[in-house]
Amino acid sequence: MNIDITGARIFWETPIKLPVLGRLCISETLVVSWLVMLIITGLCIFLTRDLKVENISKRQALAEMIVETADNFVVGNMGEKFRYMIPFVSALFATSLVSNLISLVGLRSPTADLSTEAAWAVVVFIMITGQKIKANGVGGYLKGFTTPIVIMTPFNILSELATPISMACRHFGNILSGVVINALIYAALAVANRALFGLIPGAVGKFLGAVPFLDVGLPAILSVYFDWFTGVMQAFIFCMLTVMYIANAAQPDE
């Protein structure tokens, strides 16, 4: 039997082809992304409904806990002057987390599309570069590539570019591996199912073989690692790297 593991489906695309951007398309990635944004924003609105100063509800306590955790994470790792980064880092974490976990309900994760992680990584890369230029000046930033000796310049440029690529590919690879393994397991279990119930002769065996009984159970256990653990871990790692890189970039070189 053939297993076909493909990228996101494309629902609609413009007939015109633009020079660099190509065809404007609405893919599964974008639709699920919007759904993720709706979920996060809806959750925010739900959590912050009728806030009180005293005698707070459990819902408000949870919302305050989330806000304080985000505050502590960003301010603790980056320092007080990066307080304005809190919403961005939170959005990054929330989007990544919900995108990773939305595969649990059978939708295709937007993070299983390299375009998503590349977009995030490029934004982070621009922020890192911006902080470096802010800390050292344009001349200082460019001069930083020639350290410790001039001959190292190409390697320094390469290592600089490796940052966003590694960030994007790390996240993407982890999520994609989950997608691939899931597809393989489902396919394998379908085959096993057919073989097992095919032992029953006649039409009954054919009918029972087509119903994927074995799909219940094992994929759920494996999803604890491939969806839950990886999903949470990768969201956290991506945010942690973002925070660390930007905080490091803001410190001027000696």
């Binding site: 925010c44 806000v67 919403p87 959005a91 990054l92 937007p110 375009s115 993407f172």
Partner: protein, 167 residues
């Protein structure tokens, strides 16, 4: 339906995801961080106000306490004064009473001495009379004649004077 390649970069998706990320950051800021931070600030202000109130209350309490302590010290002083005055009055009174008692005792003794003196005088004059009548009887018997009571008395008084001087 068309599908993308498994690993590919779609420019439009890339651009849209950047916009989505910033939109999401804005939405999270507007709907989660702003209201929650407002509430947290309000609570912090309320807590600060309560702490200030508590400090004021404590200062007031301290003032009241020192005032109370002053009052207590004053009261103790007054009490000591009252006790001292009472002790002084009591000792004065006891002295007075003792003096009066001594005076009374002296008066009683004087009166008793006067009485005794009187009694003695009475006894002496009685004895004089007794002795004179006895002497008169004896003398009358001795001289066997009646002498006038005047002479008699004169004689006897002379005698007694002499006796009195002799005794």
């Amino acid at each position: 339906m068309k599908v993308q390649d498994l690993v590919t970069l779609v420019p439009w998706t890339f651009v849209a995801q950047i916009l989505n990320l910033f939109l999401q950051a804005f939405l999270i800021k507007k709907f989660l961080f702003k209201p929650i931070n407002e509430v947290l600030n309000k609570r912090r202000e309320a807590a600060d106000a309560q702490i200030r109130e508590a400090q004021t209350a404590r200062q007031e309490a301290d003032a009241i306490k020192s005032e109370y302590e002053q009052n207590m010290a004053a009261a103790r002083e007054q009490a000591n004064e009252i006790v001292a005055r009472a002790q002084k009055t009591a000792s004065d009174q006891s002295d007075e009473i003792l003096a009066k008692a001594g005076e009374e005792a002296r008066a009683i003794r004087a009166k008793a001495q006067a009485d005794i003196e009187q009694e003695r005088k009475n006894a002496v004059s009685e004895m004089k009379n007794e002795i004179s009548s006895v002497a008169m009887d004896i003398a009358g018997k001795v001289i066997e004649r009646e002498i006038s009571p005047e002479d008699h008395r004169k004689l006897i008084e002379e005698f007694i004077e002499n006796v009195g001087e002799a005794s």
